[in-house]
């Protein structure tokens, strides 16, 4: 099989896995307890890194934007620039990258270990559909949790920007927060929230696909984990471009 055929096969298998995982949401049996466990692992577990990333992203944006805007005498618009940058781009992308690094890798290594020790075959042998049992709960949990984490990251980021604005730029909190939310409209919110929703599919499905197709023992698990993080990260950037293109008329 040449590399082109192999590439087409991987895309086909990935799409089929996604379709089966989505179909699993609507078909019995439902593994709700697994969904809750995964929401805890992905959501609560990722909260500290998402909060830290959001805070410092907002803080850095605030400093950079002030520096640029001051050149045009528009430093009072720092809040607007920080909030727009965070809600539209930085919040969804950084949060998804953090969750991809943490959870796509986690899914790939967990499912990969199960694959090489025949636990996934055992699951099928015991009459359970492994896609429904393992992939659907992870997908569902990521789709619910990632937009929520993004909202938290956006808010913490804007707050981080306000701390910098207050202590270093000497903007009043009222100035900063008023300019922050005044320019945000429904379209910005829709774009900012549709991104993590779509990225969640990439994060969960890439992690699960790499994990379930792991071959070659512990070395294979390591390979799958790396592959999952790299592929999910690249896919996030590609999807980000496509979604932005849909919203922005350029």
């Amino acid at each position: 099989m040449d590399s082109l055929q192999r590439g087409v096969l991987v895309v086909q298998e990935f799409v089929l896995l996604g379709a089966r995982a989505i179909a699993g949401i609507f078909r019995k049996p439902h593994y709700w307890s697994d969904v809750l466990i995964q929401m805890d692992v992905i959501g609560v577990g990722s909260l500290p890194i998402v909060v830290l990333t959001g805070f410092f992203a907002g803080a850095v944006l605030s400093l950079q934007m002030f520096d640029t805007l001051a050149t045009f005498g528009a430093s009072a618009q720092t809040g607007t620039m920080v909030s727009l940058s965070l809600v539209l781009e930085m919040g969804p992308v950084l949060t998804s990258l953090m969750v991809a690094g943490r959870n796509s890798a986690g899914m790939a290594s967990e499912l990969g270990s199960m694959a090489v020790t025949e636990q996934i075959d055992a699951m099928r042998a015991l009459g359970t559909d492994p896609v429904k049992k393992l992939v659907t709960p992870r997908l569902l949990a990521t789709v619910v949790v990632l937009p929520l984490l993004t909202i938290i990251a956006d808010f913490v980021g804007i707050f981080g920007g306000s701390v910098i604005a207050h202590f270093f730029i000497r903007l009043t909190p009222t100035q900063y927060w008023t300019s922050s939310y005044r320019e945000l409209d429904f379209g910005d919110m829709a774009q900012g929230l549709s991104k993590p929703f779509v990225f969640a599919f990439a994060v969960a499905l890439v992690g699960c696909y790499c994990g379930m197709n792991t071959r070659g023992g512990t070395q294979g698990v390591g390979r799958s984990t790396t592959q999952a993080v790299v592929s999910a990260s690249i896919l996030i950037f590609v999807l980000d471009f496509l979604i932005t293109k849909m919203f922005v008329r350029a």
Binding site: E118, A122, L126, G127
Partner: protein
């Protein structure tokens, strides 16, 4: 002629360019045993995975309890798999679950049919663990068990659903002779007390000898002669069947591979 528990008809499976199985045919009637022998990479484990529909053949037909499963969709196969137990080579226990949860897994994660009541689940798990004499280990994690104990938990998990057919993939591989004897005794016990059909992949002819010549005596808890069910032997070489028949017929074989395989043990 009664419906066989499992039947392979001219089954061929090819991975990329490597022939894993080629035109394999056999049938095993309900309550009988088939001992599958062969060198490493001769297709033994692949044969068991085909029997359970975990792999689909490239050619030929496989019948499980009279139903052709070789072209069934995954979802349609799940109810059939619930009637079959499988013991994997390395046990394949779920390492994040306790022994109880591992054995209860087939009861609590049924794809079809009503789930049993919680009290019934515990009763059946304890019954299965008592069968393999491992009830005291009910709360342990697989990592806390020895290789033989893991194999026994895997047997308990395979039989908790009261299957009609159990597939054993090298159940004694890597075990000391005493533990291996215990495992084979459990296979005999299940076969002879519940009339379960058994397919046993093994490297050790001694295991086949026990299955073909002994039965489980519930009074003594030991194995005793004679065997009360029919046992066939199937010898695989590079995916091809080189022998299929009884132990007596195998002893008369002149095929160098079969002779070497039998004489070396």
């Amino acid at each position: 002629m009664p419906t066989p528990a499992i039947e392979f008809s001219e089954v061929t499976l090819i991975f990329d360019d490597v022939v894993a199985l080629e035109r394999v045919s056999f049938r095993v009637d309900a309550g009988d045993s088939l001992v599958i022998l062969g060198q490493a990479s001769s297709g033994k484990s692949v044969l068991l995975k085909l029997a359970l529909g975990l792999l689909q053949p490239d050619a030929g037909r496989i019948y499980l309890f009279g139903e052709q499963i070789s072209d069934m969709r995954e979802d349609d196969l799940l109810p059939y798999r619930q009637q079959v137990g499988m013991v994997f080579q390395e046990s394949a226990l779920f390492d994040s679950l306790s022994v109880f949860d591992n054995v209860a897994y087939p009861l609590l994660n049924r794809n079809s049919g009503a789930a049993p009541a919680p009290g019934e689940v515990e009763g059946r798990v304890r019954e299965a663990l008592r069968f393999v004499e491992l009830e005291p280990a009910i709360d342990k994690l697989p990592s806390e068990l020895s290789g033989g104990m893991r194999r026994r938990v895997a047997i308990a998990r395979a039989i908790v659903n009261q299957p009609r057919l159990v597939l054993y993939d090298s159940p004694t591989a890597g075990l000391d002779p005493i533990t291996a004897h215990t495992i084979v005794t459990l296979i005999l016990k299940k076969r002879d007390t519940a009339g379960v059909t058994s397919l046993v992949v093994t490297h050790r002819l001694q295991n086949g000898h026990l299955l073909a010549n002994f039965h489980y005596d519930p009074a003594t808890g030991e194995v005793a002669r004679p065997c009360r069910s029919h046992t066939q032997f199937l010898v695989l070489r590079k995916g091809c069947v080189v022998f299929l028949g009884t132990q007596e017929e195998m002893a008369l074989q002149r095929d160098p591979y079969v002779v070497k395989f039998v004489m070396k043990q």
